[in-house]
Symmetry: C2
Subunit: 317 residues, 2 copies
């Protein structure tokens, strides 16, 4: 495993973010426990700054830079939560963030990133144009590239969510995290290994975007081709670093149906009164579709984010 | 002031609910602070059991009963959060709850109360029929009536939310709570007096249901006649006990427009990723309409509940 993903890298990340990230609450719901037949501890990263765990990794990466690197700013390509997270982390460090976004990105996403003072650089909506544009920005400005997930500093930052979850709960039998690019799941599995006591770690993924499930099963990284899911945060494929960490430390990847994802999302909204995005709900969906497996166990789950369009809820069609 | 509303009654209530109610988180939002120009600590009673602070008062009242009183069950008239709260509190004590509800109440409210194992007794949708039906139930069953707000045990229970808020925050200059029947505001003002250090307490009320504002101004209880507001938890008038407590301990009642209530509600959903009902949003609306008054101050607000119909959001018309 990558040398820089040590127990110390997570402890250092935890210290770096301590005064800047929210220590998010861990909530429980008696009525969901009754429905699920087990005891669930929800680590609420939807209540994290920028509404997603992504702030932890982005902030840790920025805070890890040397002063002379920092001064030239940071850059990434993303139109999602990582973009907002990096923009805010840069703003808090008083440096510039360049965010490469396809010109087709929704206005609401552009506005969020601009709200944190970042400069948006538009590309064509292709992988190639995105990469070319990023390269050009990095070359011209000297900005430091902070990848969305395939990066040891980012993974160490995401690991702090599970660290806090383990610190604040009694012996967990399982931790479940969603898997898209694998940054959160990698970090979660490392914290379970370093700080937990025999905790099984499970990744949850939509059936319609099951590239991580297949990649681990067949021991090779499949690209995520034409994924069909409401979970807009879980569309990407694994990176080489996250693939290795997950292969080594994650016990299982469970895939779930769209129907159960929406049911789980609505259950969390209605019973817990918190807003989660579909990508978050996969963790509860994994329990609801496998009740026997989790029966009477103590389970930690990571609710990854809460960024949804309030005018387009999946049950208001 | 009523003898039984002592500092001890609140400390006792706090001990009674400790292992049964959620100790709800206190959240902050950098972006809302920036908009509001002050530092706001949100005590999230929307994340309380049954989705509202009402559980504290109902549980404290039930837990205060002697064994022989308890055995005959409890009763109340309500189709809102107090009904669900009393039903759950009774269920947790293994006793019966009789809930008097107009037969015109929405199916969703009936279902919630039945879900907690309570027996619904229907009345006509008039105050008189409601009271007659309650009297009849109490006479026939020997059940103990637990009023929704005008009751010292209920008020002492509601006071525990502000007690926790004060315990966990640095010196607050203000605490703002919504006012309907006045149970939450009364309890909040008592906790501020007993446990706070010179905290000003403010009630927030919709302009379209400003009976508490007028009652305190004119020193007499006005009934709430034909209130016009989206805040379905703030339609009732004060009781004689809550009126006296508020008169003595609350510094001011601020009324706010429906427009700002909806703006504040949406701001909390979007920026904090938590679900609050309109009645909760009045506290932020009071700040947004009075920014000069609260400028740079440290403010605690109580988000009273999160029970909304997810298919009828005020911005999806």
């Amino acid at each position: 495993m990558n040398q820089s993903l040590s127990i110390n890298s997570i402890i250092e990340a935890s210290k770096r973010i301590k005064d800047y990230a929210h220590r998010t609450p861990i909530l429980t719901s008696g009525s969901i426990n009754k429905i699920a037949g087990c005891s669930i501890h929800f680590k609420c990263e939807n209540l994290q700054k920028v509404g997603a765990f992504k702030f932890r990794g982005a902030f840790n990466a920025v805070a890890s830079l040397k002063k002379e690197e920092l001064e030239r700013g940071v850059a990434t390509h993303s139109s999602g939560n990582h973009a907002a997270a990096l923009a805010l982390a840069a703003q808090m460090h008083g440096v510039k963030a360049y965010i490469i976004m396809p010109h087709t990105a929704p206005a609401i996403k552009k506005k969020a990133v601009e709200g944190y003072g970042a400069e948006i650089v538009f590309s064509e909506p292709t992988l190639e144009s995105r990469q070319d544009t990023l390269n050009k920005v990095v070359e011209e400005t000297g900005a430091h590239f902070v990848p969305p997930f395939n990066d040891t500093r980012v993974i160490a930052g995401q690991a702090t969510a599970a660290l806090e979850l383990i610190e604040e709960t009694e012996k967990l039998n399982f931790i479940i995290a969603p898997v898209g690019g694998g940054g959160l799941l990698s970090g979660t599995s490392l914290s379970a290994k370093f700080f937990g006591n025999d905790i099984k770690v499970i990744g949850a993924e939509p059936k319609g975007a099951d590239d991580a499930f297949r990649s681990i099963r067949d021991n090779k990284i499949y690209p995520s081709v034409n994924p069909q899911t409401i979970c807009d945060g879980l569309l990407t494929s694994l990176g080489d670093i996250t693939f290795e960490v997950i292969k080594e430390n994650v016990n299982e990847i469970i895939t779930v149906s769209e129907e159960t994802i929406i049911e789980a999302m609505r259950m969390i909204w209605e019973r817990m009164k918190i807003i989660v995005e579909p990508s978050s709900a996969v963790v509860l969906a994994a329990i609801l579709e496998n009740k026997e497996k989790f029966k009477n166990r103590n389970i930690g789950v990571i609710l990854s984010g809460g960024n949804v369009d309030l005018e387009k809820l999946p049950w208001n069609k």
